[in-house]
């Protein structure tokens, strides 16, 4: 007598394992193919889910930021303090970079446009070319990149380190909502800062371009005539679209940086946070500009 119970007759029948190897029938072939490509499909799915997650986060947080900002009791004293500090950082931190970049851009674009359009006998189009190329297309992208590099990365790192260090949890323990205290004021500081720096960029680039082109003889009109030509080349839509682009670029760069910082995981380090945040910021800048390009 043994302790092993006798096997039931159906247990003695030979078992086939569908995962053991290639089978001659269709089902077996399908399983084999699935096994081969499953890791690739999983990786693609993971990546897609990850990308969609950030997009949905940005949409949700953007809506939340606007909705919360309309409530008067969202603008409490620490929130206002954070808004002012962030605005100061965004504008003063980016000012010099904006002036230098605008000077270089103006030097290249305005002088080249004036020279080549004059050469082609189309000098009357200088204003409209400058408005559509420099002010409407190039400025928002460069302002967005400078905002991202000078201030967005700072916000991202600060908030990311606060999450990893437990300071954000400590804020929550004291009843301070990190979304209200950090994300909302910083996003609006970036929005206002984006508009301010964008306007500075547009004026400085045109002005410096005029100075260079005037000194080389490519433009012979006065500065007032030059700016009058530029303004005359602007359509009614341009007066709306150009500031809106600066505002939206600032809004999304600020929001993207703060959200990327707030959603870091415990596995993240500076080496993973910063490249990811920078790539997301650049993507947001380009998406805003491309969307406007498609519609207008």
């Amino acid at each position: 007598m043994t302790d092993t119970p006798p096997l039931a007759p159906d247990h003695t029948a030979p078992q086939t394992n569908p995962f053991s190897g290639p089978q001659p029938d269709d089902a077996g072939r399908f399983v084999h193919l699935l096994r081969r490509f499953a890791p690739w499909l999983a990786a693609i799915g993971r990546l897609t889910r990850h990308q969609i997650r950030f997009t949905l986060l940005v949409i949700g947080a953007g809506w939340g930021t606007i909705r919360e900002s309309l409530r008067p009791n969202s603008w409490r004293r620490p929130v206002i303090y954070e808004f002012r500090a962030s605005l100061r950082q965004v504008v003063s931190g980016g000012f010099l970079s904006i002036v230098v970049t605008a000077t270089l851009t103006g030097l290249m674009v305005v002088s080249q446009a004036a020279y080549w359009l004059g050469f082609a006998g189309m000098a009357q189009m200088t204003g409209s070319i400058l408005v559509s190329v420099l002010v409407r297309e190039i400025s928002p992208i460069l302002v967005g990149i400078i905002l991202m590099g000078r201030s967005g990365m700072l916000s991202l790192t600060e908030i990311g380190m606060m999450v990893l260090g437990g300071e954000v949890r400590a804020l929550q323990a004291r009843g301070i909502d990190p979304f209200l205290a950090l994300v909302m004021p910083r996003t609006f500081a970036f929005t206002l800062g984006g508009f301010t720096l964008g306007m500075i960029f547009a004026v400085v680039s045109l002005l410096m371009g005029f100075v260079i082109a005037h000194s080389t003889g490519a433009i012979t009109t006065s500065v007032w005539t030059f700016f009058f030509n530029v303004l005359a080349a602007m359509t009614t839509w341009d007066y709306l679209i150009i500031p809106l682009k600066f505002v939206l670029v600032g809004f999304f760069v600020g929001l993207g940086s703060c959200i990327s910082g707030l959603t870091v995981s415990s596995n993240d380090t500076m080496a993973t946070i910063m490249p990811r945040g920078f790539a997301r910021g650049i993507m947001l800048v380009l998406v805003v500009n491309v969307l406007f390009m498609l519609d207008f």
Binding site: P78, E167, A170, Q172, A173, G175
Partner: protein
């Protein structure tokens, strides 16, 4: 909150293990207004997690936790935050923001949750600062302060704004000896106006002088929360 209702009540509260790392055992605790509960816990992190649990920051798998008669799990974000604003807390670590000066860190919860005039908040924080040995309020960022100054600043921050519950993690190793008496005086004054106290200690020495005034003594272990005899 009704009269004679407990200020803080944990009724068979089983915390989520994944979220907290606390033993998923039923925790029971009841603090009435003005009472002081001392929780003996050698592990700082476990004490901080239990403090988070009492502040409604950890979800429960069973039971309930009520603060001022309100169940944390039934409240929405704004209500949760407003209620947490009634808690004065001393944390051992990671509670200071180096974005602001220490003075703003101290006043931040009070400025966030109330509309009290700024001057009055500064005045009350400065008065508390004097009690804990500061000449005023420290304005440098927290990372520039010594451990002793941070412990004193933590005391000021916990007591400012007349909280209804004090959740005090053990900072007896960093708090200077001359500040222990003001700390106990402030705690007694708070209790006299109905504030409950949840005080985490690592050793008997930390609360020895206050032993007679303690109402509840419990021990927080890996296995859960166990009542001890109050002498």
């Amino acid at each position: 909150m009704t009269a004679n209702a407990p200020l803080l009540e944990l009724r068979d509260a089983v915390p989520s293990f994944e979220e907290s790392g606390l033993m998923p055992a039923p925790y029971n605790l009841r603090i009435m207004p003005g009472e002081c509960a001392v929780i003996d816990c050698r592990d700082f992190e476990r004490a901080a997690m239990f403090a988070d649990l009492c502040s409604g920051m950890i979800s429960l798998t069973q039971g309930s936790i009520k603060f001022m008669g309100l169940d944390w799990s039934t409240l929405r974000d704004r209500q949760l935050n407003a209620l947490r604003g009634r808690i004065g807390r001393i944390s051992r670590s990671s509670s200071w923001l180096n974005l602001f000066g220490t003075h703003l860190n101290i006043m931040l919860p009070h400025l966030y949750h109330t509309t009290d005039p700024f001057d009055r908040v500064v005045l009350s924080a400065t008065e508390l600062g004097h009690r804990f040995g500061f000449p005023g309020l420290p304005t440098s960022t927290p990372d520039r302060l010594s451990g002793a100054d941070l412990a004193r600043a933590a005391c000021v921050r916990a007591f400012v704004g007349r909280p209804d519950l004090l959740v005090l993690e053990d900072i007896s190793d960093t708090l200077p000896e001359e500040n222990i008496l003001p700390f106990l005086e402030m705690m007694t004054a708070a209790r006299d106006r109905g504030c409950g106290v949840l005080w985490f200690v690592r050793s008997a020495a930390a609360w020895h002088e206050y032993r007679k005034a303690v109402n509840i003594h419990m021990r927080l272990l890996d296995e859960g929360l166990f009542p001890m005899r109050v002498v």
